[in-house]
């Protein structure tokens, strides 16, 4: 079995600054792969390059064996690459269900069919219900998104990502600002999702990362200094010195 998403020597320069330096990593189905590092380590740039928001300076990204390095973001998304944002990007004025349906609609856009109502699109509705269910938002489906609690908003953020039926999930700090209970719910959700998805998790909450991740990559100044399972990373002297050392 080959990796679902494989990244080789991915590099991004901003002028003279190298934000991401020759990063190589693989995402496998059934695995949560966490990327950790201090602020400015290049995690966000990496996730932005993977999702197609910014171009890579060099290197290669392949999705299920297919080279997608130069594809536009929307095409990558339709090919099965879903992402969530660190800052909540839900459509605050729509209901939770509409948020998910809108995201799901990308798969079967058919924009020319203007005689059909958006809310009648069976495929989108099905995907939306499924995503809401998976994210545990079914009860709150008809609430206007802007009025949801912070935790529910973060769940909706992931649900919208799921509604596009991705194979690979790129999650940018899904736990940011969450309380303990909300965190537990989100971790349960991720555990459940990893059976059917390859997940890249960028997260600052170290306890959560070490609990849930199957593999961890540590970045410092744009460069990967270590990759391995949580136990190996915990024991890695370089990591302890460069990163964990400051915390623990």
């Amino acid at each position: 079995m080959s990796a679902l998403l494989s990244v080789e020597n991915l590099t991004r320069r901003f002028g003279g600054l190298v934000a991401v330096n020759a990063v190589t990593l693989d995402l496998w189905l059934g695995e949560v792969h966490a990327v950790i590092g201090t602020n400015g380590a290049g995690k966000s740039t990496l996730i932005n390059m993977l999702s197609g928001e910014i171009d890579a300076s060099s290197g290669r990204i392949a999705l299920a064996g297919e080279d997608i390095t130069t594809r536009a973001q929307s095409r990558r998304a339709r090919a099965g690459l879903g992402r969530s944002y660190q800052r909540t990007t839900i459509f605050a004025e729509f209901t939770a269900r509409e948020n998910c349906r809108l995201a799901a609609q990308a798969a079967t856009p058919r924009p020319w069919a203007i005689w059909q109502r958006a809310q009648d699109c069976a495929a989108s509705n099905a995907a939306a219900e499924e995503a809401l269910g998976a994210a545990g938002l079914r009860v709150e489906a008809d609430r206007v998104a802007g009025t949801l609690s912070h935790g529910a908003k973060r769940q909706l953020e992931v649900a919208m990502c799921l509604a596009t039926r991705p194979r690979v999930l790129l999650l940018d700090e899904p736990l940011a600002g969450m309380g303990a209970e909300e965190t537990e719910r989100m971790l349960a959700l991720l555990t459940q999702l990893k059976a059917t998805h390859a997940i890249l998790l960028v997260e600052h909450d170290m306890d959560a990362v070490f609990r849930i991740a199957d593999r961890i990559t540590v970045m410092v100044n744009g460069t990967v200094i270590a990759t391995g399972d949580p136990a190996a990373i915990r024991g890695n002297p370089d990591v302890r010195q460069a990163y964990l050392g400051e915390d623990h």
């Binding site: 998304a77 459509f91 069919a113 203007i114 005689w115």
Partner: protein, 337 residues
Amino acid sequence: MKNVSATMRHWLPLACALALAAIGPWMSPYVADFVVKVMILSIFALSLELLVGMTGLVSLGHAAFYGIGAYATVLGAGRDGGSIAWLLPLAMGSAAAYALVVGALSLRTRGVYFIMVTLAFAQMAFFVFHDTPFGGGSDGIYMYVRPTLGPIDMESRWVQFYGVLGALACTYGLLALIRRSRFGAALAGIRVNEQRMRAAGFAVYGYKLAAFVIAGALAGLAGFLVASRDGVVNPELMAWHNSGEVLLMIILGGLGHLRGAVIGAVAFTLLKEVLSTHALVGPLADQWQLTLGLAIIAFVALLPKGLIGVAARLSPAATDAGQKLDAVPAPNAKVTP
């Protein structure tokens, strides 16, 4: 209560159109003519509403498409006139073609820049018609014979009245369909958060371009109608203050609502009419620019959500229903310093 107002929301526009059609024959020629003018402006305003209210693209050059539609009609008709059957597609097609070019280039920019680039392209069109003899130069050009289609002749007052009313109904209907369709939902999503839409897999640029071209074509329709009514066109149709005025109309009415565009067109025209009529405001009519300017400023200060917002405040029940995809937009035109 909610259901009643929701139903009203659906049927009220149709009822208005039918009422207008019914009382048409009892209107004096001037009133009929005035109504035709307001209806044409309503179509023009609706076309811009598709961009500003529904997609969040603030264009300050929309008059270019209006003018191009009008010029295409007159130039196409030539000395001997022509058939609506091909003049109308020609007018809408020319406007749409220019919109395609302008849209393709200007949609690369955003925010303030988008506003200014659309303005620049409109000025370019203005100067092409103003400075070259191609369209009769600065004084404009006449249409000697108005467009016809079999027995339907735009020369007739009633054909003008009902033709324009029909065009307005079609435009309104088309935009209402678009609003509730998947296309409209995608535009609404783009208006609120373009980045998220892209991440979900929408080809955002294509959607915006499509909206831009449709808006251009509909403005071309308004241009066709105004040329057929006036029988004369001139570059001033494309002047930037015309783009500004139509923007005023939709803001005045209330963004994010189709009714807003129509209400705005009616209100703005009436406001100006009232302020410049001696019989109504006496000697102040000579200073209509001052009173209009003050009225606009007072309006911004007091009614940020437009006339629709006033109606909403008066009957709160009407507001929550259907507000979901219907809310006042936060255009993604925020400053990007």
